[in-house]
């Protein structure tokens, strides 16, 4: 049994190794180098821990290790890396991909105006009565007949084919040699439209599709889906002597035909004098205007005859510290920073203090053994915590706080003949509103952790205090509260950090509003740093700015990290636990 178990474990390890190796290979092939390396390091560590006796104790952390690498380390690395790039709207693809597109995508081709009459017929090798994907195309270009077999991929990226090519060979007689095989055209001599069959050693290709032949329309779907889309979509058929290229396009009349095309851009080399030496530099050149493609701020531009720059495609570029410098120097960012930072701090601190001051009394009451039906109360009190925050936030926003139809303004306040409160449009009340919601959502957490801590306080202490003549208040302030704090102190610090970044509540309730008049950025009175950054990076602009957002989130991490560190030191939380 034990042996079987061991065998099973070895087998499992083998599988793990295989899958990780495969993943590494796959990722690196697809240019996800970092993630590939992450997997490689991970499997190396796992094997090391299993095989090396010294690594024995670490065996048990392997599952945690996997999660640590994939969910923590890699995202941190990725964030830091992104912070130094311009990744965002207009800069979505790596530079290699941008160049690849300009050179090989069908988008960057143009149809060469010509009087040539190009038509084609597709001949298919059947398997029984079923068409296969073994086919041959005959072209008629200005009454000359050309042949090409299934085109072959010439450029790949990972498993995607980026460009295929077929070489055209002219046919001048009934039988001819093509790719080392002897072919025969039936019937011959004939008009191009009358060719019915191509035969070669032991195989025959029957006429399958021609866009100008009504009788073959029945095969059009198969041709379009299985042949054209799969093998001809981005394919150049090249006539080797003239160098002319032909490609499949959907023509204005809706039919699929071949036209003469050219690529819009080509690679060229330019000699540049750099660092006292001549160097060859790769550049892109527009084939129509013969102008070189300009590269500026992570974007490729074409220059037209008026000298205007025309946006072609943007790419992800390393821009060094620019994002960080922008945080410090851009008045749009720094302007409202202090007031937002102040409110963020107040918001986080008040959230913790107020929800604790609601949660703790409940905990004290629930902790009293004289209270009957404690479980029921506890369950009821935990409900706000158990309901997903998204739902309660929406209920608060639309049901309770709505300025016209909300519970407060429509029923509660008129009851005391008070004026309605403008929950979303008055800066002060908007802040009160978000705090109210957050307290409602977090007090059960405070209550729960306090309850746990209260139960750990030895009863003897209270007995001794009672004997010494301490009253209820004194017992609370001298015994309960200090002992409670040593236990829940660290938790309070972490909930401070959590509130500091509690984007969800702010965004769902007020979305940061009401707006601060006179600000040039989308800033509101309830905006915390996180929501402000979100607006700057994802909403304010022409789209998203991941690079900038990453830079800011690193800054916020440092900020929260520092505050938490001070908090821990100040409250001595770690020392107490460590002792």
């Amino acid at each position: 049994m034990k042996k079987l178990m061991k065998l099973f474990l070895w087998f499992f390890l083998l599988l793990l190794n295989i899958s990780f190796f495969w993943m590494t290979a796959f990722l690196i092939q697809n240019r996800y180098y970092e993630l590939g390396i992450t997997f490689a390091v991970l499997i190396f560590l796992i094997d090391f821990f299993v095989f090396n006796p010294k690594g024995y104790p670490y065996r048990y952390i392997i599952p945690a290790l996997v999660l640590l690498f994939i969910l923590v380390l890699y995202p941190i690395y990725f964030t830091i890396k992104t912070a130094f790039t311009n990744y965002g709207t207009g800069h979505f693809m790596p530079k290699e991909e941008a160049i690849e597109r300009l050179l090989y995508s069908t988008k960057y081709t143009y149809i060469v105006p010509s009087n040539e009459v190009v038509s084609y017929r597709v001949f298919m090798a059947y398997d029984g009565i079923n068409p296969t994907d073994d086919f041959i195309i005959l072209f008629s270009i200005d009454d000359q007949i050309f042949i090409s077999k299934k085109p072959v991929p010439v450029r790949r990226k990972g498993r995607d084919v980026i460009l295929s090519e077929g070489i055209l060979q002219r046919i001048e007689s009934e039988t001819f040699l093509y790719e080392g095989q002897r072919f025969k055209i039936v019937p011959w001599p004939s008009l191009f439209q009358e060719i019915k069959l191509l035969t070669t050693e032991g195989k025959s290709y029957k006429l399958f599709y021609a866009f100008d032949d009504q009788l073959l329309d029945i095969n059009a779907p198969y041709f379009k889906t299985r042949i054209a889309q799969t093998h001809l979509a981005n394919t150049d058929f090249i006539e080797p002597f003239s160098g002319k290229k032909y490609a499949l396009r959907i023509l204005p009349d809706g039919s699929w035909g071949f036209v003469r095309i050219e690529r819009l851009y080509r690679l060229a080399y330019e000699e540049v004098y750099e660092d006292g030496r001549m160097k060859l530099k790769m550049i892109l050149v527009n084939n129509v205007t013969n102008q070189r493609v300009q590269e500026k701020d992570g974007v490729f531009y074409d220059v037209n005859d008026k000298g205007e720059e025309i946006f072609l495609v943007g790419f992800i570029d390393y821009i060094g510290r620019k994002n960080f410098i922008r945080i410090i120097t851009d008045p749009r960012v720094t302007g409202p920073f202090l007031s937002i930072f102040g409110w963020t701090f107040a918001w986080a601190a008040l959230s913790v203090v107020l929800s604790l001051s609601v949660g703790l009394p409940f905990a004290l009451v629930l902790n009293d053994p004289r209270l009957r039906g404690r479980n029921l109360y506890r369950t009821l009190l935990i409900i706000p915590w158990a309901i997903p925050a998204f739902i309660s936030a929406l209920v608060w926003r639309n049901g309770l706080l709505n300025e016209t139809y909300g519970l407060f303004n429509k029923f509660l306040l008129p009851l005391f003949s008070l004026d309605p409160i403008r929950w979303f449009n008055d800066p002060f009340w908007a802040r009160v509103g978000v705090l109210l919601v957050n307290i409602w959502l977090t007090f059960p957490y405070m209550m729960t952790i306090s309850l746990g801590a209260l139960q750990s306080i030895p009863v003897e202490l209270y007995e001794a205090a009672t004997v010494d003549g301490a009253g209820k208040l004194r017992r609370f302030s001298r015994i309960t509260f200090p002992l409670l704090m040593t236990v829940i102190g660290p938790l309070l610090v972490s909930s401070f950090a959590f509130s500091f970044n509690n984007f969800t509540i702010i965004f769902l309730i007020t979305a940061g509003g009401p707006p601060i008049p006179g600000s040039v950025t989308p800033t509101g009175y309830t905006d915390i740093l996180m929501s402000y950054v979100y607006k700057l990076a994802f909403q304010a602009g022409t789209g998203q700015d991941f690079g900038f957002a990453s830079a800011i989130s690193i800054m916020i991490f440092l900020l929260v990290g520092t505050i938490s560190l001070f908090n821990f030191k100040f409250s001595g939380a770690f020392e107490e636990v460590g002792r």
Binding site: R159, D160, P221, Y222, T225, E403, P522, Q539, T542
Partner: protein, 391 residues
């Protein structure tokens, strides 16, 4: 090891090949009809068309995340003002010229064009208009003064139970008719496209438009808390006499049994017609789609046809983008009214800079409606903000 990896890759490639299908992302209203059309396309071509429902507001963000990775839909159905951003990210494939293109309204094609290329196949135009409940309003108002009197009368008669006029006063899109009517504009239109440096949202006309909005509030017919959801549900419940909304909403009102009519938004001043934004809905192709040719075939040789367009109209009655389809549906008074409203309208800019305008203007409207800034102040500030961000 490498051989094994290669083998697995081949296996995966075969799997992917076998999965030849077109994925379409569309919002709620078109899912049914597109599914039916997809079935027909499959019957003809043997290619699955998988129509996936994605909430309208999520289509663009989702597409922006998925498409660069070579994933996501082959075709998305969305608004023309996404084009600028999507093209800047290199995510859209131009649609080649086709024979029946001249059957489409020029404004629709123009809206989907960017840098001289067509990036979307328009199927519906839309513009907001005045929708009124015939139980309260027998004859729609022709001038703003009439509108205000009518709204006040209704409120006098029914108290807080029925609103005379309600529209989302803090949403730029719904306030545009008043601003543009008086002569405001977002970006100056020039022969070579929009000039994003020339912003007309704080000019005399724009301020007049905002002052009119302020007057609605001061006269007590618009309240600061009004938003789209409240407007929509009140009209559906028969508790609003007049609203400003678009053709997408009317089906729900008819279903709710409301006897409604559609009319032009009243002239903002004598001889100054209200000018709403004209939005265009259409189909766009993912440039990284593995089935580019088929996606183009689907749009050009199938969706763009008159009969298909007519069927889409029947399922989701918005103003058709094809002229000959409009001819077919001319007996529908709603369509005529909305078309007239769109006729007065101005296409929503599709340049990426438009992204700054929405937030800035919504905030400005908020300040005006809540009386925290005068119309002139709010407008000037909004323009400053847009300029600071577009520089």
């Amino acid at each position: 090891m490498r051989k094994f990896a290669a083998l697995l890759l081949v296996a995966m490639a075969v799997f992917v090949f076998a999965q030849q299908k077109l994925v379409v992302w569309t919002s709620e209203k078109q899912v049914g009809i597109l599914q039916a059309l997809g079935q027909e396309f499959k019957a003809r071509y043997g290619v699955d068309v998988e129509v996936q429902y994605v909430p309208f507001g999520d289509i663009k963000p989702k597409f922006l995340t998925a498409a660069p990775q070579g994933q996501g839909a082959d075709i998305i159905v969305g608004a023309h003002d996404w084009v600028g951003e999507l093209v800047a990210n290199g995510l859209l494939e131009p649609i080649p010229a086709f024979a029946e293109i001249n059957q489409f309204f020029e404004s629709g094609l123009e809206a989907f064009s960017y840098g001289g290329k067509l990036y979307g196949l328009p199927y519906a135009l839309e513009a907001i208009a005045l929708i009124y409940n015939k139980d309260y309003i027998p004859q729609p108002p022709k001038t703003i003064e009439e509108l205000i009197t009518m709204a006040k009368n209704i409120q006098k008669e029914f108290g807080t139970e029925v609103r005379g006029l309600i529209f989302p006063a803090t949403t730029f899109y719904f306030v545009v008719p008043f601003i543009f009517g008086h002569g405001g504009y977002v970006f100056k239109s020039t022969p070579t496209g929009l000039d994003v440096k020339d912003i007309g949202l704080a000019n005399e006309g724009a301020v007049k438009g905002l002052s009119l909005l302020k007057r609605f509030v001061d006269e007590g017919i618009i309240t600061p808390g009004d938003n789209y959801e409240i407007m929509d549900s009140m009209f559906r419940d028969g508790r609003a006499a007049m609203i400003i909304n678009g053709p997408w909403a009317t089906k729900a009102y008819a279903d709710a049994g409301i006897d409604y009519g559609v009319a032009l938004i009243p002239d903002v001043a004598p001889n100054l017609v209200a000018r709403p934004f004209v939005g265009v809905q259409g189909f766009m192709i993912n440039t990284k789609s593995a089935n580019l040719l088929l996606a183009k075939e689907f749009l050009i040789n199938y969706i763009a046809k008159r009969d298909t367009m007519h069927r889409i109209y029947l399922a989701d009655p918005r103003l058709p983008a094809r002229k000959d389809v409009l001819e077919l549906v001319k007996d529908n008074p709603d369509v005529v009214a909305f078309t007239m409203s769109a006729g007065n309208g101005i296409p929503m800019p599709n340049v990426p800079q438009m992204g700054f305008v929405w937030g800035a203007m919504d905030d400005a409207l908020n300040l005006v409606v809540n009386g925290r800034a005068t119309p002139a102040e709010a407008a000037r500030n909004a323009v400053e903000r847009i300029k600071a961000q577009t520089q």
